[in-house]
């Protein structure tokens, strides 16, 4: 093991600010699925039992001797006590309905996935006119059977849970990076319209889509800042997947994704919030644009489909990178493969600072414990020869 001269918090902050650290910090993106399975609970049980689920994550943390940060502190939602937040949650950030979130879903059920268009083209004008919050309030009954007071009470409870998850980690000396989660307008619309319908909207009615995004973005920013304030964790996860070069040519990115991404990140930075840019899928061609974002206050969190080595070349001296142990390596690789890959990341991406070793997206439910432990251990024991 490397002799440590910094606390986890100092180490992670150094990585974000591109300052020297005693060793590369390690912070997996951990939800409750892998810990539940490891503890012999069903995933559904872990998801629907907040205390036990959180405890399962804490147990894994202790078993591997700890890591440096929680990117997200747990799995509650950080929401503002507003009807619009409840409506957004019940539309599902990524298409899930979480247990207990809707009267129709029982407390014990698995998260249910619904691939349907939760927004239609006809809704666009209403969003343009009333903004996201206004639209959500006017259309509440379409998305949830709960009355307004109950939605607000539920949102408050989620946020309290979120804050308590953060406190649980803070007591262990582990910072949580994101106090709220938000999608870019493109991601927001794509997931709620469906990939195909939204792609056709971009093709057929680009000006209208742009107007919708303009109407959405301020509400998204305001609510996110408010949610982070309520949870007391000074950071935001910006969820990005659909806007990158895997899906769209740069001309789409330049008009419909980047300006909004920039506006959001700048607004968060102005409030002193860091942004973890959660990049699912391949964004390699989009990386140069990230140099136009505020420096030393964002993390480009990559999922193993973006070329992380290229990212290092491009973002060096500007932005911290986190990632990108492939899910398949955690699930079907060997500890030797894992060690070799982590060492390579530490050598190349960790060179000169600005790197947090992490999983590419979440640790998969069927990850092997030995592999996971190897990832954590490698960060703590491997000092590159420089």
């Amino acid at each position: 093991m490397i002799k440590e001269t910094m606390t986890s918090k100092e180490r992670v902050e150094a990585a974000i600010k591109l300052e020297p650290y005693d060793r590369v910090p390690v912070a997996p993106l951990m939800d409750v699925m892998f810990p539940s399975r490891h503890k012999g609970m069903t995933v559904a049980y872990g998801i629907s039992h907040w205390k036990e689920g959180l405890q399962a994550i804490v147990d894994i943390f202790d078993e591997v001797g700890g890591w440096d940060a929680m990117i997200l502190p747990g799995y509650s939602l950080a929401l503002t006590p507003k009807v619009a937040s409840g409506v957004m949650a019940s539309m599902g950030t990524r298409g899930y309905k979480f247990p207990g979130q809707d009267a129709a879903v029982s407390e014990n059920s698995q998260p249910q996935y619904e691939e349907r268009e939760r927004l239609t083209v006809d809704n666009y004008d209403e969003i343009i006119k009333y903004g996201w919050s206004g639209f959500a309030e006017r259309n509440r009954e379409r998305y949830t059977s709960f009355p307004p007071e109950q939605i607000i009470a539920w949102a408050k409870k989620q946020t309290e849970h979120y804050a308590r998850e953060g406190e649980t980690w803070a007591q262990k000396g582990v910072p949580s990076l994101c106090g709220a989660i938000v999608e870019s307008p493109l991601m927001f619309l794509s997931t709620k319209r469906s990939l195909t319908s939204f792609t056709m909207d971009l093709h057929r009615i680009p000006d209208k889509v742009e107007a919708v995004m303009d109407a959405l973005v301020d509400d998204l920013i305001t609510d996110t800042i408010e949610a982070a304030r309520l949870t007391g964790i000074p950071g935001v996860m910006l969820v990005l997947e659909r806007g990158g070069c895997f899906y769209y040519p740069l001309k789409i990115f330049e008009r419909f994704e980047f300006p909004y991404m920039k506006k959001m990140v700048e607004a968060f930075a102005a409030e002193g919030l860091i942004t973890v840019m959660h990049f699912d899928q391949d964004w390699t061609l989009n990386l140069p644009y990230l140099k136009e974002l505020p420096e030393k206050i964002c993390i480009a969190e990559l999922d193993s489909t973006t070329d992380i080595f290229k990212a290092k070349e491009i973002l060096k001296g500007h932005m911290c990178i986190a990632g990108d142990v492939p899910a398949s390596l955690s699930a079907i690789g060997t500890p030797e493969d894992m060690e070799a890959y982590c060492k390579k990341l530490i050598d190349v991406v960790g060179d000169g600072g600005g790197f947090i070793l992490s999983s590419g997206c979440t640790i998969p439910a069927n990850a092997k414990f030995e592999n996971f432990k190897t990832m954590i251990d490698t960060a703590k024991s491997y000092l590159p020869a420089r």
Binding site: T199, Y247, Y248, P249
Partner: protein, 210 residues
């Protein structure tokens, strides 16, 4: 290149629709309209391969193609039938609900001339087998995006074997994390993580199983 093929290749939806109408009104054989649309889709596939086009252009052209077919297909009934390249069964395997890639590849396959039986998501081995038996399709395409899906793929291949169909059915697996190693592990004949490449492989299968 015909005007219609060009309109599709250029993703010009209104023009493509107008041309289809015009041709129908002029009494052009519906089948040759279908062929022109396919030609357009081929060009899109080529541009995607050359990295001139992205996934979004595959999606848009696929939708334009579907719209054109919605108009032309009813006219094919009774008249000269479009000859399908081959029947094919498609689905996302048991335990996996990712459908976006499967749907896109399904559209591309249809556009290429396959008669696709898309079973949907979370499909058990026995359901794949039943559909193969029912349709006599000589190609099976399985989609999977999760590592546990490799087991479901393997089980499905085994079920096809047990049904005595393995030598009659070509099997391809696809999805973002599918590699050569995965293809071998599950016992498939081919693998891909790229839609248009998958279509090319299926075309080859169609020739081999004719």
């Amino acid at each position: 290149m015909s005007e219609l093929a060009d309109a599709i290749a250029e993703l010009n939806e209104d023009e493509a629709k107008r041309l289809v109408r015009e041709k129908i009104d002029a009494g052009v054989e519906p089948l040759s309209i279908v062929d022109e649309c396919r030609e357009g889709m081929d060009i899109v596939g080529g541009r995607y391969k050359n990295k001139e086009y992205f996934l979004s252009e595959l999606i848009v052209s696929g939708e334009i193609f579907k719209e054109a077919m919605a108009v032309v297909e009813p006219l094919l009934k009774g008249g000269k039938q479009a000859e399908s390249l081959s029947k094919m069964v498609l689905g996302t395997v048991k335990g996996d609900i990712h459908n976006i890639g499967k749907d896109i590849v399904g559209t591309l396959l249809t556009a290429a001339g396959f008669e696709v039986y898309d079973l949907g998501i979370d499909i058990a081995p026995s359901i794949f087998v039943d559909k193969l038996v029912e349709t006599g399709a000589p190609i099976l395409g399985m989609s999977g995006l999760l590592t546990p899906s490799f087991e479901s793929m393997k089980e499905t291949v085994k079920a096809v074997e047990e049904a005595g169909l393995r030598d009659k059915v070509k099997i391809i697996v696809g999805g973002g994390i599918v590699t050569e190693q995965v293809g071998k592990y599950v016992g498939a004949d081919a693998f891909t993580s790229d839609g248009p490449e998958g279509v090319e492989i299926c075309k080859k299968f169609a020739r081999e199983t004719k």
